[in-house]
Each structure stands twice: as structure tokens, then as C-alpha cells.
């Protein structure tokens, strides 16, 4: 974990977030090298979603620093954060059920000025997710869970983010679909240099694609290591990862 200047896409230092009197993040630090996947693991209530929500601006952190490609973004509004190059796919996916698949996808890139590249990104997303291509005019509420996850992921990608925050993409999905999604995320990193912070309760599947793993407990980092080492640590597995 060298503090290299150019290599880090996302650098979080001493991030503290609280909801009223309840502390959700108690000084979290982590760094994600460009083009890699870091998995954030931990039980329910460990602060995983709070971490992502603090990074993307949905929650204003109390203190600490968030550097996106070296630029301080802590406390910025979510609509600014996405325009600075970091997209957040929320837990439960946040697909807008009343809109069509096409409207949902287009929405992801609407803020971008380059209209030609906007539609290019849209077609790339359709190419990446053929089931969406076949359902362009259908309302998002008619999609299956896996298709919704594809839609949320595709919608984030249409913004051409450098950093992607993924919150529980496996939630409620069949193992086969989960593996498919994880494989796709891995491929995007390898092929396009996308940087991913992946929050998962499903530790096994997250560790299988990640380059680095971080374990959160009660708002603090309790372990940060190579995925293979985390998976091999029996104490850690039993105490926090549940497998």
C-alpha cells in the first residue's frame, strides 16, 4: 500500500460519519489503486453502505478526506460527485420503476455535454447487457432482479465514470447471475481501467474478483489485506465474514 501519487484513484482518510448521535463511520481510511477492485466486507450495520453514501455525497461526512484522483471531494453534493467521475450504484439498485429501460439508461449520461459520446455510451451499455437491449421500451418495474442490476450498472457506466461504487450487487440474485455480474465488473476493470469499490455481504463472491479486501466492523477497518489472505484467516472469517 504505497502512497503513490498517480496510482491511486480513490483515497479515503479518517472518514467520520454520524447520523445524529449514532456513529456510522469511525475514522475509516482506505485507498483504491486505479483499475483495481477493492472489496469492502462486513456484517449488517458494519458501515459499508454508510461508507459509500458518504463517498458519493448522499451523506455529508463529519470529518475526514476523500480524494478522487487527488481532488478533495468530501462533502460535495451527489450531483457534483458523479460529474467529477465517480458513480454510485445504490443498494436495492435504485432503478426508477416508472421509467422505461431506455429512459433509465439515458438518464445516467444526461449531464454530459458530449451528445455524440452520450449515445455511444448508451449503445455500449446495450451491447454489454443484451437483455436490456431487448426491453428498451419496457418499464423498469417489469424487469427481473438480475435485469434491474444490469440496468443500474449500465446506467452508472453511461456516465463513463473513472470510479464505480457498487453497493451489494449480489443482493437477491441467483448465484449464477451474481457470478455473471462479478465477472463483468472484473472485465471492465481489466479492459477499461475502471476503478471499483465493491461493498458486499456475500464475502466469498466479492473476494473472488477483488484485488484487495477491507473488512469493516462497527464503522472501523479491522482488516485490510490480500483477498486470499482474508479468506484464509479463520478468525476473521468466523467473526466478520460469515463463511
Amino acid at each position: 500500500m504505497a502512497e503513490g501519487a498517480g496510482g491511486l484513484s480513490l483515497e479515503v482518510k479518517d472518514l467520520v460519519t454520524s447520523y445524529g448521535a449514532i456513529t456510522a463511520l469511525n475514522g475509516v481510511s482506505l485507498s483504491v489503486p486505479a483499475g483495481s477492485i477493492t472489496a469492502v466486507l462486513g456484517a449488517n450495520g458494519a458501515g459499508k453502505s454508510s461508507l459509500l453514501r458518504s463517498l458519493s455525497g448522499l451523506v455529508r461526512p463529519r470529518s475526514g478526506s476523500v480524494l478522487l484522483d487527488g481532488k478533495e471531494i468530501a462533502g460535495r453534493a451527489p450531483e457534483d460527485v458523479v460529474q467529477l467521475g465517480m458513480s454510485h450504484v445504490p443498494e436495492g439498485r435504485g432503478v426508477i420503476a416508472e421509467l422505461t429501460v431506455d429512459d433509465n439508461l439515458r438518464l445516467g449520461g444526461l449531464w454530459r455535454k458530449d451528445k455524440a459520446d452520450r449515445s455511444a455510451a448508451l449503445e455500449e451499455a446495450y451491447a454489454l447487457f443484451p437483455p436490456l437491449d431487448q426491453r428498451r421500451k419496457r418499464l423498469a418495474m417489469t424487469l427481473s432482479g438480475g435485469e434491474r442490476q444490469m440496468l443500474a450498472l449500465g446506467r452508472a457506466l453511461v456516465a463513463r465514470p473513472r470510479v464505480l461504487l457498487l453497493d451489494e450487487p449480489s443482493l437477491g440474485l441467483a448465484p449464477r447471475i451474481t457470478a455473471q455480474i462479478m465477472g463483468l465488473v472484473r472485465r471492465l476493470c481489466d479492459e477499461t481501467g475502471l476503478t471499483v469499490l465493491l461493498v458486499e455481504q456475500n464475502a466469498r463472491s466479492a473476494l473472488s474478483v477483488a484485488d484487495h479486501g477491507v473488512v469493516l466492523n462497527l464503522g472501523s477497518v479491522v482488516a485490510s489485506d490480500d483477498p486470499a489472505k482474508l479468506a484464509a484467516d479463520d478468525n476473521l472469517r468466523h467473526a466478520y465474514l460469515g463463511f
Binding site: P78, E79, P90, E98, L99, D103, L107, G108, L110, W111
Partner: protein
């Protein structure tokens, strides 16, 4: 039969005005989940500004434009400055604020323009066309119906086919998600209120030849528009228009066959009936979301 047809057609133009008010309420409701009780009063104020333009020799069209433009500004101002601070609080707070705006705007209108009712000129003839025994729909009524329909269609096109419309829909359905996708949700809500106030202004200019302009002249129109919106379902723009038109025709039947004193009462009866049978309104589809 001829009388029935005349009465039915006669209800259309009034109904279109209720439809416009209903549509404006639905726009605001969809965007911010606030029922704007000041909608009628704000519209009345813009009609007064238009009336001042007419008094100073401006044409009907310039006056109309002034009403619409001042509606745009007034709607944006009320949302951004007065409603925004309470938008995320308990719903009752916003209700109290809009009631406050209602009282203040009517008070200001009384101070600036006095309480004497003014008859707003029509520009179009008010003489009904006659076909056989059927007499209805003066050129002015046609103007009312066409102008509201045009505005409704333009609005529909805006929402369905433009990027701004998509942003507004996203902001209305899922504000937080929209923000994560880079939509400036606050601006979209302001725009929604502004557009709604424009429609309100149109309704006020259209109704004022028949309901002489005074600080309280839009109160009853607002109540009927609100009733139309609730009948159609507060979530449904199409429902709002059908609800408003339906109510207008119904109230014309009541006036023609039972007496005009019973109009308000029968509007209330319809409202209660609809709320009992289908509380979400006849055309609402999104009553049970949130999975």
C-alpha cells in the same frame, strides 16, 4: 335533447379551466408531494398584472404574455424561497406554508388592486354558435378549450420527449437516485412549480371574463380544480384534465337542471363519493409503489 347537448357543450369550457388548475396542482404534487393551496391566489395575482397591462393600453396578447411570465417567476419564487425550506419536513409544514402564501397573496392583491371586481375583457365573441336548436360554444369558449389543450399537449411533449422532461420525471419519482445520476433535482422542482404557475396564470386569464377579477375570485375555481385533480388522481396529469372537464360538465348539468346554488355542494358530493370508492383517484396508477 337539444338542451341537454347545449348544457353538455356549455360545461366544456368551464371544465377546461378547472382542468388547467387541476393540471397545475398535479404538476406540483408530482414534483414535490405538496398540495399548493396558494395556486388559485397566485394565478389571480398574475391575472391582475395582466389587467393592469390592459388598462395601460396593452393588447390582450401582451397582457396574456405578462400573466404567463409573471406566473413563471412567481411559481419559481414561491418554491425556491418559501417552500424549499420545509420540503423535506413533515407534510403539514408545507401545507401551512402554502396556506400562508394564499393569505398573503390575497391580502397583497387587496392592498394593490382594491376589492372591486373587474371584468376582464374577452377579446373573442361570447355569442354562442347555433346549430338547429343547439346553442353552445362561443368563439371565446373555443379559445379556452384550444389554449388549455395546446398547453397540456406541449407539457406532455416536454415531459415525454425532452431531456429536461426526463430529468423532471426522474426528480419527481426518485429524487435521491436522480441526484446520484447528476440531475440538479432542486432546479427541476423549481421548474415544476414555475410551469404549474404558468398554467395557473392561463386559467386565471381565461376565467376572469366570466368570474370578475377580485382578490378572492379564484377561490372557487381553485376548489373546483382541486376537486377535479382529486377525482382524476393527484398523480395523473391525464386524470386531472379528464377530472376537471368531467366536473365542469357535471356542474353545468347541476346549474341547468337543479339550480346554480347547488354547484359547490355537488362538487363536494362528487369529491366525497370518489374518495370513498377509489381514494387514489380514478386515473391514478402509482398509488401503491415503494417496494
Amino acid at each position: 335533447m337539444a338542451r341537454f347537448l347545449s348544457v353538455t357543450l356549455g360545461g366544456l369550457s368551464g371544465g377546461m379551466i378547472y382542468a388547467a388548475v387541476a393540471l397545475s396542482l398535479v404538476l406540483i404534487w408530482r414534483a414535490t408531494r405538496v398540495l399548493n393551496f396558494a395556486q388559485g391566489a397566485m394565478a389571480m395575482f398574475t391575472a391582475y398584472l395582466a389587467y393592469k397591462v390592459l388598462e395601460h393600453g396593452g393588447s390582450y396578447w401582451v397582457a396574456l404574455l405578462v400573466a404567463l411570465a409573471s406566473g413563471l417567476v412567481l411559481g419559481a419564487f414561491v418554491e425556491r424561497v418559501l417552500v424549499r425550506p420545509v420540503e423535506n419536513g413533515p407534510p403539514l409544514n408545507a401545507v401551512v406554508v402554502t396556506l400562508g402564501v394564499f393569505i398573503v397573496v390575497e391580502g397583497l392583491a387587496g392592498m394593490f388592486f382594491g376589492g372591486t371586481p373587474h371584468r376582464y375583457p374577452t377579446h373573442f365573441s361570447n355569442v354562442n354558435y347555433r346549430v338547429g336548436d343547439v346553442s353552445a360554444l362561443a368563439p371565446f369558449d373555443i379559445w379556452v378549450i384550444v389554449s388549455v389543450l395546446v398547453v397540456a399537449v406541449l407539457l406532455g411533449l416536454l415531459f415525454r420527449y425532452t431531456d429536461v422532461g426526463l430529468r423532471m420525471r426522474a426528480a419527481a419519482f426518485e429524487g435521491e437516485v436522480a441526484r446520484m445520476l447528476g440531475v440538479r433535482v432542486g432546479r427541476m422542482l423549481t421548474l415544476g412549480w414555475a410551469l404549474a404557475a404558468v398554467i395557473g396564470a392561463l386559467a386565471a386569464v381565461l376565467v376572469s371574463p366570466n368570474v370578475p377579477l377580485s382578490p378572492t375570485s379564484m377561490d372557487e375555481v381553485f376548489v373546483f380544480g382541486f376537486t377535479g385533480a382529486v377525482i382524476g388522481g393527484l398523480d395523473s396529469p391525464v386524470g386531472a384534465i379528464l377530472g376537471g372537464v368531467g366536473l365542469g360538465v357535471l356542474l353545468n348539468y347541476v346549474a341547468a337542471y337543479a339550480g346554480s346554488d347547488l354547484q359547490t355542494l355537488s362538487a363536494l358530493a362528487v369529491l366525497v363519493l370518489v374518495l370513498m370508492i377509489k381514494p387514489s383517484g380514478l386515473f391514478s396508477t402509482t398509488a401503491t409503489r415503494r417496494v
